[in-house]
Amino acid sequence: MTEPVEPDFDVIVIGAGIAGCVTAYQLAQQGRSVLLVERGEEPGSKNLSGGVLYSRGMEQVFPDFLTEAPVERRITRNYINFINGDSSVAVDYRDARLAEPVNAVTVLRAKLDPWLAAKCEEAGALIMPGVRVDRVLTEGTRVVGVQAGDDELRAHVVVAADGVNSFIAQDVGLRKKPPQHHLAVGVKAVVSLPRKTIEDRFTLTGDEGAAVAAVGDCTEGVGGGGFLYTNIDSLSIGIVVRLDDLTAKKKVVTDIFDHFLEHRFIAPYLEGGEMLEYGCHLVAEGGLDMVGDIVMDGMVVVGDAAGLTLNTGLTVRGMDLAVGSAVAAAEAVGAALDQKNTSRATLAAYREKLFASYVGKDMETYAKAPHFLETDRMYKEYGELLADVLYGAFNHDLKPREHLVKVARGSLAHSPLKIMQLVKDGIAGARAL
């Protein structure tokens, strides 16, 4: 490939979220000249995640991540809650093995992103906050730089890390506008509470943390779920609901969120707290289907921009996938720069590395999840069925007790669910999750 004009930088990264920062950091560490452009006045000021980060990938990039970075709590308690109008059934999974080695931690993007950006700066990358890239510059089939306002800057490689909508990838035709059923919308708030109150309410000690996943009435039956995560002295609470289902059921996402906050099984956790942050954000939910073309001459796409998000029904994962894609991209871009050949063919090593890593493997493992999660029954009848079975077992109404199996059969007879559906969903769920 010929590159007539000597570019301003080796690499220009668009977007200082997790994917962009981690890519920029590693390329700067390799000694490349890197420009990281971020439209926010400060990296992370508007970025939004629920807040559970599977941290092993981050530790590969920053060995002291857990002690140096602004992490909140180590998740040792996972609480899965089927919530109905006035009953709820939960699985409470606690395991000391989750604490050592650390598996997942809670983070607040408003703290994590500035920390990551500072790391990039230390490594020698140049950060430009407050600049929105309008489009990438192209020559023939090749991306050669970026344009913001009247200014143009050139690079051997452009990295699109501009998040879920990725107008950049859409603009150059790498991606189409995602269809509605590939998108969900998330609303999240951060509520402050004294550290001691949080530890008491969730029975935690030290830096242990809890992650509550809620399905059912918490989203008023719309496909999706709610979450409640503990930080040091605040809670992250939110919902993620499917955009197509929201439209179909004519519901407003903020109403559902209010319903969740006020729900009798959720409100007690929040009592006395003060709302510090509130935000809405799109979530990519297409799974593997959504990962399209992520490489072209002179450009790679990473993180949410590449469609790398997984919704397993109980968790939304995107941050660790952003890290994994950044690692794969930095390696491939570095090698291409060394070969002085940043064509699509050379940069294709990124895609190979990505699919050989945990990111690609997990995307493939959960490939059927989005379809499975579109089953309505997941969000209403199952929770009620579980509650009815347990009600039969615990409600001592002076009738002779029955075996649990019989109770379950009875409940199923009253439930709109049919045995065949249960079997079908069971098989589909086991395959997808």
Partner: protein, 258 residues
């Protein structure tokens, strides 16, 4: 000609919250360039462009005001260089103390012909620093400045006064506080920010400046929130629009609003 823009790198009160006892929680407020300072920089930049003057940014304050991020945010708006005094002891400094430090920095720079400031700072908004600074320097101070033309020793300054506007001619150095909308600040572009990273930044040591100590110590000993007005909750409920209007008028007259 040398023009100094005194700017503030501080916290945004929109992200702060007042506690019931009147103290303020700033812990979530992010630092940034004070709202009106980009206006001051733009007014000064235009004058510097016309006169070929050197444009120097000066900021004094708590730890953080001299970070590369803070300096680049100011330099990207067109300053030629920046001089900072960054010292933890200035975190709680009063207006007169800050103005005294600024005056010493301006003397240190030497041969300054003009100091331009913003209308007021976003966190304190007392509008005092420019005036006290002018007093320290023995220069005239002008507030609500809408335009500056001319050159050193022959400045033409437009200002707003209650009920109208004036044009002043100033024959020597002066401190000018620009009005909130004196100019539309430019949003720095990539090339501006790229250049900003290469411009000189000078960090001065507070102790070396020999600022004379304040003669009196001022401490905040009490705080309170403004009293909440109790709403009357009066409801006008009638089907007849004319009658509703009558009742509304009577109610407003009784409340002394009309």
């Amino acid at each position: 000609m040398k023009i100094v823009v005194a700017y503030k790198w501080t916290r945004d009160p929109e992200e702060a919250s007042a506690r019931p006892d009147g103290t303020v929680d700033w812990s979530r407020a992010k630092p940034g360039l004070s709202t009106y300072d980009p206006v001051a920089i733009e007014v000064a930049r235009q004058l510097a462009a016309e006169t070929g003057a050197e444009l120097i940014g000066v900021t004094v304050g708590d730890k953080g005001v001299g970070t590369p991020l803070a300096c680049k945010a100011a330099l990207g708006r067109g300053l030629d260089r920046v001089v900072t005094v960054e010292d933890g002891s200035l975190a709680d400094a009063g207006r007169s103390e800050l103005a005294a430090v600024l005056a010493e920095v301006i003397k240190h720079i030497g041969d300054v012909d003009l100091v331009v400031t913003g209308d007021s700072s976003m966190d304190v908004a007392a509008k005092m620093v420019p005036t006290v600074l002018a007093g320290e320097l023995g220069w005239p101070a002008v507030a609500e400045v809408t335009s500056v033309t001319g050159k050193a020793g022959e400045l033409r300054v437009g200002r707003e006064i209650p009920g109208g506007a004036q044009v002043l001619e100033i024959s020597g150095p002066a401190v000018l506080a620009t009005s909130a909308d004196a100019a539309a600040p430019r949003v720095p572009g990539m090339k501006d920010l790229l250049a900003a990273g290469k411009k000189p930044v000078e960090h001065l040591d507070l102790a070396a400046l020999k600022v004379s100590p304040q003669n009196a110590v001022m401490t905040v000993t009490g705080r309170s929130l403004p009293e909440r007005k109790v709403r009357k909750g009066q409801l006008i409920d009638t089907a007849d629009p004319a009658q509703a209007a009558d009742e509304l008028l009577t109610a407003l007259r009784q409340a002394g609003a009309l």
